[in-house]
C-alpha cells in the first residue's frame, strides 16, 4: 500500500517505510507515560532488536503495534494502516499483516501442532486443500515435520516456539513481531530460533525482536533500538546491547 499517496496530518511516509511511530505517547490512567514522544521508522526487510530493561516501554510498544492499545498522542502507521484511526472491526484484518511470537508461545493447548498452525490459515478462510499443502511445508521449514500430531505439552520449549513461529509465518505476513522469543528457552534453542528468524528476514520479512538476551544481540550485529523510561535512548545500525549502568 502506498503511504505517499495518502494525505496525512503527521509526517509524510516514504514508500520503503513499513512501520512508523510519529511522536507517540502512551499514558496509562495511573502513573507516568509508558512511552513519551517516541519516533521510530522501520524499513521493509529490516531486522531490528528492541532492547531495554523492565519499565522501559518495550511491552507497551508491542501492544501498540498489535493494536491492543491506542496511543494517547501521536500516530502509528503500519503497512498502510493508521492505527490511531483503526476501527474495532478493522483490527483483525490489520493483525493479519503481523506474524506474532510471544515468550510464552501462546499455543492452543487442546489442539495438535497441525491444528495450531492450520488455525492461522482458517481465520483467513484458506481453502482446506491449500491448508493441507501449506502446513506440512511450513512445519518442515521450522524442523517439526515429524511432530504434527503432537499436542503442545508433549513438546519442548524450543519446539513449542517453532510451532508458534510456523503459525506466525504461514500466512506470509510482511512483518514478524517477536516479544522475548527466547525468554523461556535454553541457549541452544535460543540460537536455533534466532537463526530461523534470520533466515526468515533474508527472505524479505521485516523482523522486530524485543529481547533481553545480551549475547544474541551482541553477536548478531543487527540494528538495535534501546529504550529507557519510555524514550529511545539509542538507535544503532549493527549495534550492541547497551548496559544500563
Amino acid at each position: 500500500m502506498a503511504f505517499a499517496s495518502k494525505k496525512k496530518k503527521g509526517r509524510s511516509i516514504a514508500d520503503d517505510e513499513l512501520i512508523v511511530l510519529d511522536k507517540v505517547t502512551k499514558t496509562y490512567q495511573t502513573g507516568a507515560p509508558a512511552l513519551n514522544g517516541v519516533s521510530l521508522s522501520v524499513k521493509k526487510g529490516e531486522f531490528v532488536f528492541i532492547v531495554g530493561d523492565s519499565g522501559s516501554g518495550k511491552s507497551t510498544l508491542i501492544k501498540l503495534l498489535l493494536r491492543e492499545l491506542v496511543p494517547t498522542e501521536g500516530d502509528i502507521y503500519v503497512n498502510g494502516y493508521n492505527l490511531s484511526k483503526l476501527k474495532h472491526r478493522q483490527v483483525p484484518k490489520y493483525r493479519r499483516n503481523l506474524g506474532v511470537v510471544f515468550q510464552d508461545f501462546r499455543l492452543l493447548k487442546d489442539r495438535n501442532v497441525y491444528e495450531n498452525v492450520a488455525f492461522a490459515q482458517r481465520i483467513v478462510q484458506t481453502p482446506n486443500r491449500l491448508i493441507k499443502r501449506n502446513v506440512p511445508a511450513i512445519l518442515s521449514i521450522v524442523g517439526l515435520a515429524g511432530k504434527y500430531k503432537a499436542k503442545p505439552k508433549q513438546l519442548s520449549g524450543g519446539e513449542q516456539q517453532r510451532v508458534a513461529l510456523a503459525r506466525a509465518l504461514i500466512n506470509k505476513p510482511p512483518i514478524l513481531l517477536c516479544d522475548e522469543p527466547t525468554g523461556n528457552l535454553d541457549p541452544k534453542n535460543s540460537w536455533e530460533i534466532m537463526k530461523l528468524l534470520e533466515q526468515i528476514n533474508k527472505r524479505g520479512t521485516t523482523v522486530l525482536v524485543v529481547t533481553h538476551n545480551r549475547e544474541i544481540v551482541n553477536e548478531m550485529q543487527k540494528r538495535v533500538v534501546t529504550m529507557k523510561k519510555g524514550v529511545i535512548v539509542s538507535d544503532e545500525e549493527k549495534g550492541g546491547y547497551i548496559d544500563e549502568n
Binding site: L107, K109, D110, F119, A120, R122, I123, Q125, A168
Partner: protein, 298 residues
C-alpha cells in the same frame, strides 16, 4: 463464509462440548433442571386452565322475549347479540325445545299428564361467552334492548370462574418469572466459569487476526447444542411423567374422571416442545454470545 469454514465452525462447536465435558454437563444439567420445573409447571397450569375453560363453556346467559314479539323482531335481537364481541355462540331455544329439555331433566315419566306446553312463553336465546368476566356488562346491555323481557344469569358462578382464571394467570406469571430469573442466574454463572477457562484461547485467536465472528461462532454453536440437549431431556422426562401420572390418576380416582378432563399429551406438547426448545436454544445462544463478547475486546 466459505462452506469449509462453516463445517469447521460446526466441528469446533461440537468438539468444544467434548473438550470441556464437565462444563458441558453442568450447563446441560442446569438448563434441563430449569426447563423440567418449567415444563411440569406449565403442564399443571394448562390442565387447570382447561378445567376452568370447560366449566366456563357450560355457563350461559338466557334471554327471554316480551309476549307477542314477531319472528323478525326476535331475529333482530339475535343479530344484536351476535354483534357483541364478547359473545362466542348464541343458540335459539324454541318453546317446544325448552319444554322437552325441562321434561327430560326434571319430570321424566311424570310429564305424561301435560297435554299443552306450559312453557309457551319460554322461547329464548342461550348465550355463551368468550370471556366470562364480561358477563355483567353484557347483561346490563341486554336489559336495555327493546323486546327483552328477562335476562337470567349466574353472576356468582361467573365471578368465581373469572376469579379462578385471574388467580391462575397471576400465579403462572409469578412462578414463570421466578423460574426464568433463577435459570438466567444459574446459567450465566455456569457460562462464566466455562468462558474464563477459555479466555486465553480467545485472546490467542484475536492476536492472530481472527474476527469476532470467527471466534464467537464455535461458542455459539456449542451454546445452541447444549441448550437444545438441555431442553430435549426434560421434554422426554415430562412426556413420560405426564402420560403415567394421567393414567394413574384416572385409574385410582375414577369418580373424579368426569370433572378432571386432562388435556391430551399431544395438546400440551404442541406448545411445550417449541417453547422449551426455544428457551433452551435462546439461553444457549445468548448465554454464549453475550459472555464471549466481554472477552473479544483484545
Amino acid at each position: 463464509m466459505r462452506i469449509s469454514s462453516f463445517f469447521y465452525t460446526l466441528r469446533q462447536g461440537i468438539r468444544n462440548i467434548f473438550r470441556n465435558a464437565w462444563f458441558s454437563l453442568a450447563s446441560i444439567a442446569t438448563i434441563a433442571s430449569c426447563l423440567l420445573l418449567f415444563g411440569i409447571f406449565y403442564s399443571v397450569i394448562a390442565n387447570f386452565q382447561n378445567i376452568v375453560k370447560n366449566a366456563e363453556a357450560g355457563v350461559a346467559v338466557t334471554v327471554f322475549f316480551d309476549e307477542g314479539l314477531s319472528d323478525e323482531e326476535k331475529q333482530h335481537i339475535g343479530d344484536l347479540i351476535m354483534d357483541r364481541k364478547e359473545v362466542d355462540k348464541v343458540n335459539f331455544v324454541s318453546a317446544d325445545e325448552a319444554w322437552e329439555s325441562f321434561k327430560d331433566e326434571y319430570l321424566g315419566e311424570y310429564s305424561d299428564g301435560f297435554t299443552e306446553n306450559p312453557l309457551e312463553d319460554s322461547e329464548n336465546y342461550e348465550i355463551y361467552m368468550k370471556d366470562i368476566s364480561l358477563q355483567s356488562s353484557l347483561v346490563t346491555y341486554l336489559q336495555t334492548v327493546p323486546g327483552v323481557r328477562q335476562v337470567n344469569s349466574s353472576q356468582q358462578t361467573a365471578d368465581a370462574l373469572s376469579g379462578a382464571n385471574k388467580l391462575i394467570s397471576y400465579i403462572s406469571i409469578g412462578i414463570i418469572g421466578i423460574l426464568l430469573a433463577v435459570s438466567v442466574f444459574l446459567i450465566s454463572n455456569t457460562v462464566m466459569i466455562g468462558i474464563s477457562v477459555r479466555k486465553e484461547e480467545i485472546g490467542i485467536m484475536k492476536y492472530i487476526g481472527a474476527t469476532d465472528f470467527f471466534v464467537r461462532a464455535p461458542f455459539v454453536v456449542e451454546g445452541l447444542i447444549i441448550g437444545l440437549i438441555g431442553a430435549a431431556i426434560p421434554l422426554g422426562l415430562i412426556y413420560f411423567i405426564y402420560v403415567n401420572a394421567m393414567e394413574m390418576i384416572l385409574a385410582r380416582f375414577t369418580e373424579i374422571g368426569s370433572i378432571l378432563q386432562f388435556l391430551p399429551v399431544e395438546v400440551v406438547f404442541s406448545t411445550l416442545i417449541p417453547v422449551a426448545l426455544g428457551i433452551g436454544a435462546g439461553i444457549g445462544f445468548f448465554g454464549s454470545f453475550i459472555t464471549v463478547r466481554k472477552h473479544l475486546r483484545v
